[in-house]
């Protein structure tokens, strides 16, 4: 008997010998790519930086994420310190990054750096995770984090709150831009995880009533510099 | 224009007044209306039951019946959808395919014909009642008619049109579905009927007599005072 892979691929080739009728769609297969064909019809992400920033702010507010706009790194450090103080955070986890080093500097609590083979239980006990991101998507209010640039997989999902520190030049209009940026930035090897985070964790599983913090962070704060 | 009236089989036998009203409105607008007596059933019940072999000869008959007619107009979104949308599929790959497409291009639902083809909205009707409109699913989703009947109703003198919450929900008729799965069909008409009743309308109007059979049948069984009325009947009224 042939192996399953050979078998399944043979079944597929056999099945596709009969062509499906071309659907009546206002888009062509392949060229221009479906994504390019669809892009102009998706929600607007803003033509100018200012427009994108406005849309981003609106989207984040609707998602119940908190956006803090600050002029510079020093102000970001102060904003984060104030946030930690107000929330009474005792220990926050973060990852090594030059921007975060400055922004975390004023924190009034312990800053625990995740490193190789960190203790999961210890991370679970942290009040917040502070990370950078790859970009922010205005169109959807999403932040893209990656296992390479945002401290691995768990830091942005396990602690009770997630703080993203980003700069205004990281804001892109739409998802297609974000994906293009990922492709350009990572060359041949993608990070093992890339995650678009759109608001704090949520569920509607009980009577379709919205509850935040189902498993991931109950709070999402975005500190945007510039 | 010479208009060939397409009267669905159950309208012919159970609600002939709908056919009469449609003819009256078209005649009043100055058109010549004919009724080709060889017509019977379009074959939809068999088609929907999967009996395409049975539906095919019925469709071919209809092609013959309406051969040469300039415009075929039917007061039923569902039966018109059968001719417009499903005949070409049913007869695909047969020698009748081309004629099926041709008939499809000449066949119109009544309100569609008035508004889109004749460009008429005010047919000179008067009906001083509060009515709500039910979109039959075939008219709404196969023929994409939504505004046409509403425009006609808004032009009726004295008529107050109120929208229903579940305007786009199915009434649960679905042809033989209503009898093969009566419990589901009934649950659906309860939802639809409940929404219709909440509008406080005196009449529920539709372009689909089959939906009216279902909705009217349920309203009557429940002893509700709201009456079903076909849009052609409203447009024929001058009281």
């Amino acid at each position: 008997m042939a192996d399953a892979r050979t078998d399944i691929l043979a079944r597929i080739r056999e099945a596709l010998k009969v062509k499906a009728p071309r659907p009546h769609l206002r888009a062509e297969p392949g060229d221009p790519s479906p994504s390019k064909a669809g892009r102009p019809w998706l929600p607007d992400g803003g033509e100018t930086r200012e427009a994108s920033l406005t849309i981003l702010a609106e989207q984040l507010a609707k998602l119940k994420a908190v956006l803090l706009r600050v002029p510079d790194r020093a102000a970001a450090a102060k904003a984060l310190a104030d946030l930690a103080g107000a929330k009474g955070w005792k220990r926050v986890a973060s990852h090594s990054d030059s921007l975060l080093e400055e922004v975390n500097a004023a924190l009034p609590c312990e800053v625990w750096p995740v490193s190789r083979d960190f203790d999961k239980r210890r991370l679970e006990a942290c009040d917040a995770g502070v990370t950078t991101c790859e970009c922010l998507v205005a169109q959807l209010g999403s932040a893209l984090v990656s296992s390479r640039s945002s401290g691995g997989r768990a830091l942005s999902i396990l602690p009770h709150a997630h703080v993203i520190v980003a700069t205004a030049d990281q804001v892109v209009p739409d998802l297609a831009d974000a994906l293009a940026k990922v492709r350009a930035g990572n060359g041949g090897e993608m990070p093992s995880m890339l995650s678009f985070i759109t608001g704090p964790s949520r569920t509607g599983d009980i009577e379709r009533i919205l509850v935040l913090g189902a498993h991931g962070p109950k709070e999402l704060h975005v500190i945007l510099i510039g | 224009m010479r208009i060939s009236l397409f009267v669905p089989c159950f309208v012919d036998q159970l609600t002939p007044r709908v056919g009469v009203a449609a003819a009256e409105v078209l005649t009043r607008l100055g058109h010549e209306v004919e009724f080709r007596e060889a017509q019977t059933c379009c074959g939809q019940p068999s088609f929907n039951s999967g009996q395409w072999d049975v539906a095919r000869p019925a469709a071919v008959r209809a092609l013959e019946v309406f051969r040469g007619a300039e415009a075929v107009v039917g007061p039923s979104g569902s039966c018109v959808a059968m001719m417009r949308v499903f005949y070409p599929q049913l007869l695909e790959g047969t020698p009748h395919e081309a004629e099926a497409r041709d008939l499809a291009s000449r066949t119109f639902e009544f309100s569609e014909f008035l508004v889109r083809r004749l460009g008429v909205e005010d047919v000179g009707a008067r009906f001083a009642k509060k009515v709500t409109y039910h979109d039959g699913c075939h008219a709404l989703r196969e023929l994409r008619l939504k505004e046409e009947p509403r425009r006609l109703l808004r032009a009726v003198k004295g008529l107050e049109l109120v929208e229903t919450e579940e305007a786009e929900s199915c009434c649960g008729f679905g042809g033989l579905f209503s009898a093969k799965f009566p419990m589901i069909s009934t649950a659906m008409v309860q939802v639809k009927g409940g929404a219709l009743l909440r509008t406080g309308a005196d009449y529920v109007v539709s372009s689909d007599p089959s939906c009216l059979l279902q909705i009217g049948g349920w309203l009557s069984r429940e002893g509700k005072p709201v009456l079903p009325l076909h849009i052609a009947e409203v447009l024929a009224r001058r009281d």
């Binding site: 399944i8 691929l9 790519s33 669809g38 995740v114 093992s192 | 999967g50 009996q51 989703r141 579905f177």
Partner: protein, 464 residues
């Protein structure tokens, strides 16, 4: 009798008569309709976006072999391992073997309908592996020992009181009527599970051929935790989930969220390519993907219904379906409920036993209008009916429709028959006439008019 049709008729009769439960479901969906419309309004053209989404899936499915080969090559280049499974049994065996090799003591799972399709949990439990569903809805359904009610909203039919009782019974927590508190109870309980589990099992929403990534869409964060903390990550996916390029997701991800849940974007859309890398602090050491056929190639072989493989399991067709809303998800008796389930289940489990689902539809078409990837759902129900009538004709149907054709092919006979029918209608209403008596149980029929339209016409009616 316990054939699927009899069970369906019995169950649907009970659920469709349960007015309070039906009202509960409609109310639960109320917020969805509002949010969906708000989000759709943000699209510059929703209909054209649907065209693009449909085209992305059409291109991928109609070039499935090449896309899968490209995907698997890239997936393995990224350090993952692909396993192919012809059917459910093979997929279960593969996963059991992987779990044994991992020496798993506890397994945490995030929502995966494909695993429901292959009855994975039963197989794992039969071998003594404990497995915990981490999606809140799935967790509740697991405790209730009940399959999902809706493949996106698994426990939407369960009231908070019942959930509170369930938690009290299983987790020993005090009763509460707050959805927030109930969610937090599950959160606290499940957190330990992620930390302790050695194997995490997830599904996949998309497989990206170009990059070898799998994409997982979720709101709660449980899939992210499942793929972050355990030492081994096993994903299970149907072969039809592949798309050609990463860019396709820029259309598909927002549309999935908007169509299915009325969101701009689902909370977490995560792409995985391989196990933890050297320069990363955490993540699984092993990453496996099980690719399942299980009759999908049978659907592929039917060009007319091939587009049902476009399905991105958003759930929109269920949310708008009057049948689903009135009989509920469990009455279907299928893994996939609602219109898409009625279309594909006959292919997955046999047309003869499952064609009744295609019949249980008024063909209203609300599903087809809702589908973000433009699957011709309600017409496929017609196609299933046609195929079933051809493959397994029933004598009643044949006689009924042939006699009807015999009469309607002869206008004089039709006219005569009509006359007789009208004359005897009052009597017929009292007799057990097939179809008519079913109708009359809950609805009246109008009084038959004395004269048919054709006879009135002859006398000049309708001409002023």
């Amino acid at each position: 009798m316990s054939d699927p049709k009899s069970i369906f008729l019995k169950d649907a009769a009970v659920t469709s008569a349960d007015a309070p439960q039906r009202a509960f479901i409609r109310k639960a969906l109320g917020g969805y309709y509002v949010n969906r419309d708000l989000q759709k309004a943000r699209y510059r053209d929703w209909e054209r976006a649907r065209d693009a989404a449909a085209m992305a899936k059409w291109s991928a499915v109609n070039d499935l072999a090449a896309n899968l080969e490209k995907f698997t090559a890239n997936f393995e280049r990224n350090g993952g391992k692909v396993h192919w499974a012809r059917d459910a049994a093979e997929a279960r065996e593969i996963i059991l073997r992987l779990v044994r090799q991992a020496g798993a003591k506890s397994i945490v799972k995030s929502k995966c309908m494909t695993s429901e399709e292959i009855h994975l949990n039963d197989a794992l439990e039969a071998e003594g592996f404990g497995v915990v569903e981490s999606d809140l809805g799935e967790f509740i359904q697991q405790l209730r020992k009940e399959p999902p009610y809706h493949f996106v909203f698994p426990c939407m039919h369960v009231k908070r009181e019942a959930i509170s009782e369930l938690f009290t019974q299983h987790l020993g927590t005090p009763p509460t009527d707050s959805p927030e508190e109930l969610t937090m109870i599950a959160r606290r309980h499940l957190r330990q599970m992620y930390v302790d589990a050695d194997v995490g099992i997830t599904g996949a929403n998309f497989l990206v051929a170009e990059t070898g990534q799998i994409s997982i869409t979720e709101n709660e964060g449980n899939a992210r935790l499942t793929a972050a903390l355990p030492r081994v990550h096993i994903a299970l996916s149907g072969i039809e989930k592949v798309v050609a390029s990463l860019d396709d997701l820029s259309v598909l991800l927002p549309m999935l969220a908007t169509a299915g849940a009325g969101q701009p974007m689902t909370c977490y859309n995560t792409f995985y390519s391989g196990p933890k890398r050297r320069d990363e602090p955490d993540g699984p050491e092993e990453f496996h993907l099980v690719l399942l056929d299980n009759s999908r190639t049978r659907i592929l072989a039917d060009p007319e219904q091939r587009d049902s493989l476009h399905c991105i399991r958003c759930g929109a067709c269920l949310n708008v379906c009057p049948i689903f809303k009135n009989i509920g998800g469990l009455a279907y008796g299928t893994t996939y409920q609602g219109p898409i389930g009625s279309v594909i289940t006959p292919h997955l489990r046999g047309l003869k036993q499952w064609n009744h689902l295609s019949g249980a539809s008024s063909l209203c078409g609300a599903c087809t209008d809702a589908c973000p990837v433009r699957i011709d759902l309600h017409h496929h129900l017609l196609h299933n009916r046609r195929n079933a009538a051809k493959e397994n004709p029933t004598w009643f149907d044949r006689i009924f429709h042939r006699s009807f054709l015999f009469v309607t092919s002869r206008p004089a006979l039709f006219s005569l028959g009509g006359k007789a029918f009208r004359a005897f209608l009052p009597l017929l209403k009292k007799l057990p006439v097939p179809y008519m008596s079913a109708w009359l149980k809950t609805r009246d029929l109008p009084e038959a008019p004395a004269v048919s339209f054709r006879d009135q016409w002859k006398k000049g009616a309708g001409r002023g």
